[in-house]
């Protein structure tokens, strides 16, 4: 009991907020009851003002549906960090190094060329290969895209 009148129930406040009818008893009560006024403001925010601004137009629905990825598309993984890219390159480099060293021991190429071949192989892994995470190429593109937006 506040302001000489009973606090309206949530149902009554919903009805009051939705009907927009004058209800002097509720109005009078709200002027003197901060708790009910706070409750009403929550209800009004949740329910909207009934102006139709929350309706989604058919044009907007078409736009949303047209922009959807294909049905088989799951959520895209987030962009890979530079550290992961570095690890991919490192892994590629080591693989290239061991392969080149193995080939070098057979064909007697110099250590400089072995290192060069390993570095090139690492770079190719980052750019085109599945790499350590299996999504290095999209990640590389993601990084490039992020860079261009900044």
């Amino acid at each position: 009991m506040k302001n000489g009148t009973h606090c309206p129930s949530t149902d009554e406040l919903i009805g009051y907020a939705g009907s927009r009818d004058e209800d002097r008893e509720v109005e009078e009560h709200l002027r003197g009851c901060d708790e009910c006024a706070a409750e009403l403001s929550i209800l009004v925010t949740l329910a909207g003002d009934g102006s139709g601004e929350r309706e989604v137009s058919e044009a907007m629905i078409s736009r949303i549906v047209a922009g959807l990825p294909g049905p088989g598309t799951a959520r895209q993984p987030g962009p890979v960090t530079r550290l992961q890219l570095l690890l991919s390159w490192g892994l590629g480099f080591l693989t290239g190094l061991s392969s080149a060293a193995a080939v070098g021991s057979l064909s007697d190429i110099g250590p400089g060329r072995v290192l060069l071949l390993a570095a090139v192989f690492g770079l190719l892994c980052v750019l085109f290969g599945p790499g350590q995470t299996g999504r290095v190429r999209p990640a590389y593109r993601g990084l490039a895209g992020a860079g261009s937006r900044e």
Binding site: L46, E53, E55
Partner: protein, 177 residues
């Protein structure tokens, strides 16, 4: 009731139906976080695309609307935090030419900012409610369904619908302070 199979299959026609039925919930959240009408449209597109991508994570047990609300709120808060960390509120208003008029009113920049902040607090409080209370509030108040429809969808009687809403609103009030 949600056709879980069609949702999981990613049927675009069915997805359009879902947007028609539950679009109000998502748009209500987007309106509170958007900076302009164009921004509302962009947020709507982003949120619905996110919902589509996450569709397989909806278990089909709770209400789709309550789940969609949660996805929308989280995405909008992420976007909002990113923006506010990039610039101050004052810069935001200068950049937007003072008060934006997406709600059809003409408040001062300060009033508009306060109102939006209050709305965001309410959306966050809603998200903090227990599932049943949140679901009842989303269906009854935001989607505007009748108590009978909410009762049918939630598989509880009308008295429970009313008490869930009432307890939820009171709890939100205490969360907001």
């Amino acid at each position: 009731m949600i056709d879980t199979r069609r949702l999981r299959d990613g049927d675009p026609e069915y997805f359009a139906t879902l947007i028609r039925e539950h679009g109000r919930v998502v748009k209500a959240v987007c309106l509170s976080f958007a900076e302009s009408q164009d921004d509302v449209d962009d947020l709507l597109q982003e949120v619905w695309t996110l919902i589509y991508q996450k569709r397989r994570t909806h278990r089909g047990e709770g209400s789709f609307a309550a789940w969609a609300h949660r996805v929308a709120k989280r995405h909008c808060i992420d976007v909002y935090r990113k923006r506010t960390s990039e610039r101050s509120g004052l810069e935001w208003f200068v950049r937007n030419g003072g008060a934006t008029d997406i709600h059809g009113k003409d408040p001062t920049p300060g009033e508009e900012m306060d109102r939006r902040e209050a709305e965001r607090t309410i959306w966050e409080a809603l998200d903090a409610l227990p599932e049943k209370q949140r679901e009842a509030i989303v269906l009854r108040l935001i989607e505007g369904r009748s108590p009978a429809q909410v009762s049918h969808q939630m598989k509880i009687d009308k008295v429970s619908v009313r008490s869930n809403i009432s307890r939820g609103i009171k709890r939100m009030r205490s969360i907001i302070g």
